[in-house]
């Protein structure tokens, strides 16, 4: 039976891949022509009735002056699906601006795709998050600072970040238009830890009398107790702790030690908060103690050896079953499992991040809205873009508050209603749409909003830029269980279980640093990561008496991976960034 289901699932996957591929290939031309037709119609209408300042009746938005049809191709570094061509919001935007975006989501492997793009020289007009350094080295990017300064909204939006953007690569020009982290205005409160952390099932916390674990020992003690009390959950064997080791997602295995030491997520190094010198946390005593603890837990049966061989899908399936009590992960990485649990009504089986750190150390998981950007991430514009002026004018137009509201919230009355003086909540119908990824994609302006410069957080008058920034909307969208959970814990939002975030230094985070292709530093990071992914599982599964010997062997092997070649480069870049921020 299980087999049959697997086969069916496999067949379904295959057919879906085919249909996606087919859609991608077939829809391009009709889309362009409908876009052209609708915007041509709009132009004619506008020309015959009134000058360009006439507001759109449905949305109240002011159209752009130049509405001649133009299409920009946009490559996105992640797999996904382009919004339907019938998406009413995107159609309206095209009508008002003449601009159509042709979304090209990643199919297959990112590095392979980048290699193909580079080798062929056939760059899309815009690229999102596609290793800008490589394209810059290939001479494929245009500097963006002059265009940004030409348009008032863009100029105001990026003024606080321009220095970092220019310092990002060569110190002379800015090449990336950061769309996610550039927030010049007041940030929204943090509701949940969507990033890194030790996660625990809410049921475990409730069962322990709403106790919050603070150290590894407390964390695993609670899991052990719960597992002893409930050996099975909904018929499945209870799994104490999962460690995902599949491919690049094995940060779940390799990264925890830096957080136990009280750091945020810097990637492969620990940066001393006082001296700002990077070192390898992988070989510290903290790491040694952490993997020893996991070794203990493995021998107690809390960790299953299976976790080291399972793939990402199997991992998500385990979490979705509700039988896994805890794991170290990043919120977005198991978002699908959370959604599955929610739609199954198992709210007590969803997870919350808990403040685990070494005894006496303050946890530092949450990245506060930094007010700084790396200067290397976001959107890049390629030399193939024929009309960058139109593109930046379009981006500038999108940054208007009314347009942002239309993309994120929709139309007043139909999609949202006012609460108090400035806050808004979605209507139940719209909330349903936002919960369903397919509907959100095909019926709202979400995709366009995601991959363009945008407003996030709170406007100066305190109004939330989008539903994700609204406290009222967050609370209104919570299930009954979660509302009670928060009340019992005596907190407003789950993120308050963790320590209040502290400001990160300007260089943060190290994982965003560009390392030159083929350089010794880049080879070294690969080798260090490989050594870790080889040894850590062995240590956890090892006979406890052999643990120390294995650890010594591991430390010796790390020393042969040229760690200083990597650390020197990182330290150099930290210094550069700190100097640039002064």
């Amino acid at each position: 039976m299980k087999m049959l289901r697997l086969v069916l699932a496999a067949l379904l996957t295959v057919s879906m891949i085919f249909s996606v591929a087919a859609c991608g290939g077939a829809t391009q031309t009709p889309a362009d022509s409908t876009a052209a037709a609708s915007s041509a119609a709009a132009t004619v209408e506008a020309a015959s009735t009134a000058p360009a300042v006439e507001k759109d009746a449905e949305t109240g938005l002011t159209p752009m002056a130049d509405r001649s049809p133009v299409t920009f191709t946009l490559f996105i570094r992640d797999p996904g699906q382009a919004p339907s061509k019938d998406n009413p919001v995107l159609k309206k935007i095209t009508e008002l601006t003449g601009v159509t975006i042709d979304y090209q989501f990643l199919v297959g492997d990112l590095n392979e795709k980048i290699g193909v793009l580079l080798a062929g020289g056939d760059y899309p007009d815009i690229m999102f998050g596609a290793d800008a350094k490589k394209f810059l080295d290939a001479g494929a990017l245009i500097p963006v600072e002059d265009y940004i300064n030409k348009y008032p909204n863009l100029k105001a939006h990026y003024a606080p970040f321009m220095k970092s953007m220019i310092a990002g690569f060569d110190g002379q020009h800015a090449y990336t238009v950061e769309n996610y982290n550039a927030v010049p205005n007041k940030p929204a409160p943090i509701f949940e830890d969507g990033g890194v952390g030790f996660f625990m099932q809410k049921a475990v916390i409730q069962d322990a009398g709403n106790k919050i674990p603070k150290t590894l020992d407390e964390y695993f003690k609670m899991i052990e107790d719960y597992k002893a009390k409930y050996p099975t959950i909904d018929g499945a064997k209870t799994i104490g702790f999962e460690i995902l080791c599949d491919g690049w997602r094995d940060f779940c295995l390799r990264n925890p030690a830096q957080h136990l030491m009280g750091a945020g997520n810097d990637g492969d190094v620990y940066v001393d908060p006082n001296t700002l010198v990077a070192s390898l946390y992988q070989i510290t005593d903290s790491a040694k103690a952490y993997y020893k603890k996991l070794n203990d837990e493995y021998h107690k049966g809390i960790i299953e050896a299976e976790t080291f061989t399972e793939n990402y899908d199997q991992y998500l399936a385990r979490l979705s079953s509700g039988a896994v009590l805890g794991m170290f992960d990043q919120g977005w990485n198991f978002g699908n499992a959370t959604n599955a649990l929610k739609s199954a009504g198992k709210f007590e089986r969803t997870y919350v991040a808990v403040p685990i750190a070494n005894p006496g150390v303050k946890d530092n998981y949450i990245d506060p809205p930094s007010g700084t950007i790396s200067g290397t991430g976001g959107l890049t514009v390629s030399t193939n873009c024929k009309n960058p002026d139109r593109l930046f004018a379009f981006w500038d137009w999108l940054l208007n508050r009314e347009v942002q509201d239309y993309l994120q919230w929709g139309v007043e009355g139909k999609d949202w209603t006012k609460v108090g003086t400035v806050d808004k909540v979605l209507t139940p119908e719209r909330r349903e749409i936002m919960r369903d990824n397919a509907k959100k994609r095909d019926q709202t302006g979400d995709t366009l909003w995601q991959y363009t410069p945008k407003m996030q957080g709170l406007y100066d008058d305190g109004a939330p830029c989008g539903p994700g920034d609204s406290a009222d909307e967050y609370l209104a969208s919570q299930s009954e269980f979660d509302q009670k959970f928060l009340k019992d814990m005596n907190i407003q939002f789950p993120a308050q279980i963790l320590s209040t975030p502290t400001q990160r230094p300007a260089y943060y985070p190290v994982w965003s640093f560009p390392l030159e292709d083929g350089s010794p530093a880049k080879v070294a990071t690969n080798k260090i990561a490989d050594t870790c992914r080889k040894y850590y599982p062995q240590m956890i599964l090892a006979d406890p008496s052999k643990y120390d010997a294995l650890w010594d062997k591991f430390v010796k092997e790390i020393a042969t991976d040229n760690p200083n070649g990597f650390l020197d480069e990182v330290n150099k870049q930290i210094k550069q960034r700190m100097d640039a921020a002064k």
Binding site: G115, K134, D137, A138, E306, F308, T309, Y536
Partner: protein
């Protein structure tokens, strides 16, 4: 005496001329055939020979923005990096071992399966079996690896459940986490996926064997096993040898997907192949030169292997590809 020698030389020359004329006439008479082959030659040149100019990257520190002409030449630097890296040699070993296992198991099972199918009298059953057995060939490795890891799972995995039920083991075995098992898992997964497909060609070869041979074997008192051993196997021997030679050319390609998809930290030392090495240290690091260098190395080794096998089998059996 001298004159005789001269005459002989003259005669030889005349014969040569006539030969050459004959050859030229033959060419002329086949003019249309030559024209027909031109497009094929152009395609072969474009897709098989022209890309070889890219090998120049292996001797450069190639950067896409500089191109072939402006990238700096580094001589054998890339090859030196390969040869000095112990991980490369480890991956080289893994590639060879897994390839040889695949080759042996692939041949034995495909031929064995073809022999068994050939002996089946019920045509309907034979067809169903054959179709069912080659269907897995059309599944992608992503799907197959998902199936394998579910079957081998310690968490309600079919194999562990079966062995526990039979009482052969008392606790589930972490099949994918043990270095000793990895090569065998790869070999048997390949067998499962490709056995039916590979056997098609043998079945075809068997159907070409003259039935009179079987009849005379029967008259001589041979039973089924005798027939298999003395008639069927020798009958498909040329096919086996040609396929063997061609497959040996692929020995540096142990595959990529299965090792990439099933490989985890625990088995990294035995799971990584040269292709994965190229991906990790060449493509992902943007070091195209290194990737080219190892690709070149693979091609050179493959050519040598093919030539050697071809020579040996030609000597032994007069059965060779070129």
């Amino acid at each position: 005496m001298n004159m005789a020698v001269n005459e002989l030389a003259l005669q030889k020359k005349a014969i040569k001329l006539v030969d050459r004329r004959k050859l030229w006439n033959r060419y002329k008479s086949q003019k249309s055939l030559f024209f027909m082959i031109i497009p094929c030659m152009i395609i072969t040149f474009l897709f098989s020979y022209w890309p070889l100019t890219g090998w120049i990257m292996a001797f450069q520190n190639f950067r896409p923005n500089k191109g072939y002409l402006k990238s700096t030449f580094v001589g054998f630097e890339q090859f030196k990096f390969l040869f000095q890296d112990h991980i490369f040699w480890q991956d080289f070993r893994n590639t060879l071992v897994m390839s040889v296992l695949n080759l042996i198991f692939g041949f034995v099972f495909a031929i064995g399966f073809a022999l068994l199918l050939n002996e089946i009298r019920s045509l309907g059953f034979k067809r169903i079996t054959q179709t069912a057995s080659y269907l897995p060939h059309f599944l992608s490795w992503v799907i197959v690896c998902s199936l394998i890891s579910n079957i081998l799972s310690t968490y309600d995995g079919t194999l562990n459940n079966l062995l526990m039920w039979l009482g052969l083991i008392d606790k589930p075995v972490l099949w994918l986490g043990e270095q000793n098992y990895f090569w065998w898992i790869v070999a048997f997964s390949n067998v499962w996926k490709e056995m039916g497909w590979n056997s098609i060609i043998y079945i075809a070869a068997m159907s070409a064997i003259d039935p009179q041979l079987y009849e005379s074997c029967e008259i001589d008192g041979g039973n089924r096993y005798h027939k298999i051993w003395h008639i069927t196997l020798p009958g498909i021997r040329p096919t086996i040898i040609v396929l063997l030679i061609m497959n040996i050319g692929w020995i540096m390609n142990a595959g990529f997907e299965i090792q990439y998809l099933l490989g985890r930290g625990l088995v990294m030392d035995v799971s990584e192949t040269i292709d994965i090495f190229v991906l990790k240290y060449g493509i992902t690091l943007g070091n195209y030169s290194l990737a080219t260098a190892s690709g070149m190395l693979k091609s050179v080794i493959s050519i040598v292997l093919i030539a050697v096998t071809n020579y040996i089998s030609g000597r032994m059996d007069e059965e060779s590809v070129f």
